[in-house]
Amino acid sequence: MEDLLKQLKLGNQQAYEKLYYLAFKSCANLVLKNNGSRNDAEDIFQEALYIFLLKIREPNFELSCKISTYLYAITSKLWLKQLHKKSKQPYTLVVDEIQEKLPDVSIEQEEEDLNQELLILAMQTLDSFGKEECKQLLKLYYFDRFSLQSIADILGYSPKYTKKKKANCLKYLKKAIELKSKSDKPL
């Protein structure tokens, strides 16, 4: 399972497809059984995948059940939320009998309290930031939350070099954002 999680973080297409084979059936059944259409089932499953793929990147994330169970738990919360939104009435989901206890997962996403204009500018800078190696390294560290040792293994660098390069890349990117913001308008 650890390998699958790693492949998911690395964006391996086969790993993504694997999630469909593991969990789509039960998740779709849940939606279909609870007044959902096939479109709803597919949309909710994509949303559940997105949340799951963010969760596995959280520093304290621990998977204490099967991936399919975890996705089922996210799907049930998402679909219940949607049903409440639609009908404004309390609704009890009809759920399948599954072997494992459903984990208590949060589907709310935290948002950073940042200056939105500056953030957009930063994203534009990142888009045009030519240093692909830097972008990859920063992604692996800040988004995928791999350790420096793991990144060193993935990219074939030494751990010391990885640390140094990561610091330099961040400084470089920050500088680029700073310059762009100064050339556009004062912060």
């Binding site: 469909y20 059936k25 997105y50 963010l54 009809v94 994203m123 992604k139 800040y142 988004f143 990117l173």
Partner: protein
């Protein structure tokens, strides 16, 4: 001495990983020095921009995966397999149970008629039977055979009777009448559509009054008048129910099958319920039961479905 510009320190501060006292020192410096506050803000924004960019890519990759699987018929296979497996599983279980029940009933009926006693008598140590006894035994055997035939016949007769369908069938409630009124009273509605909707209102009135033979041509006309009519799948459904009410189960089934596969029509449990009734109308118990079993846990049809399975 703390190096406030050290990236590791800034990172730990932003991620909330610093010890309390160091975090307080950093917070103080942010409060006192605007340039330092700006530096921290830029780092935070830079890291957030990296994350947001990747989140957008993640969503794109999920969409791509979904599309790839769609092209590989993953979803189509899933839906058809799901239905097939349920139906096949249901048929098998149901057939086994029916077989057991039929054997049990036949056995019990024959026992009541003394069939087995006669067999045992025949198997008893040979004594010279009187002619009368021989005739009695033969007559009992013939009577038992007739009983057996009658039992099996009545078993199928019970099922094939339309009474069960008539007992269970009720028109699906009118859920669009109010919306039709709203549409008719809405301003800015195209005149031609308004005319069609007015006709539809007439059709629904016939439907509600159980004048199905008058409702059907109106629904049919509405459906063939264009491709993207308002509430198309609903009208298809009411047309199917009307056909069913007039015992035109083949026509009803054609529509119900297509609605069962439709992504637009929401009330799939009702489709399954009426599909099951259409099979009962066609005396096809094997196909009706799996559909009813699917509905056993349904909040609307669950109780009726269970009762109906028992009756079948």
């Amino acid at each position: 001495m703390i190096d406030f510009h050290d990236i590791d320190l800034i990172e730990q501060y932003l991620f909330g990983d610093l010890d309390k006292s160091t975090a307080q020192l950093v917070a103080q410096k942010i409060e006192q020095e605007a340039s330092y506050a700006q530096e921290i803000k830029l780092y935070a924004t830079t890291i957030e921009a990296i994350k947001l960019g990747e989140k957008a890519k993640l969503k794109e990759q999920i969409k791509t995966t979904h599309q790839t699987l769609k092209e590989k018929s993953f979803f189509a296979d899933f839906y058809s397999n799901n239905l097939d497996k349920t139906i096949i599983g249901g048929i098998k279980t149901d057939a086994q149970q029916n077989l057991k029940n039929a054997i049990k009933n036949t056995h019990s009926n024959l026992k009541d008629k003394g069939f087995f006693d006669n067999i045992y008598d025949e198997l008893a140590p040979p004594t010279e039977p009187s002619i009368a006894k021989k005739w009695t035994t033969q007559w009992i055997a013939i009577a038992a055979s007739i009983t057996l035939i009658l039992c099996i016949g009545s078993y199928f007769l019970f099922f094939s009777t339309p009474t069960l369908f008539e007992q269970e069938f009720a028109l699906y409630p009118d859920k669009i009448g109010q919306e039709i009124n709203t549409q008719l009273n809405a301003t800015g509605f195209k005149p031609i559509d308004k005319k069609a909707i007015a006709k539809l209102q007439e059709g629904m009135e016939f439907y509600n009054n159980k004048n199905l033979e008058l409702a059907i041509p109106i629904f049919e006309q509405y459906l063939i008048s264009g491709e993207d009519q308002w509430r198309k799948t609903d009208i298809q459904f009411y047309l199917a129910i009307s056909y069913l009410g007039l015992s035109e189960s083949d026509k009803a089934q054609n529509i119900l099958f297509s609605l069962n596969q439709s992504e637009e029509f929401q009330d799939l449990t009702s489709v399954q319920w009426y599909l099951a009734l259409s099979y009962i109308q066609k005396e096809n118990k094997d196909k009706a039961i799996p559909l009813l079993k699917n509905l056993e846990k349904d909040t609307v049809y669950g109780i009726q479905a269970k009762e109906l399975i028992k009756k079948l």
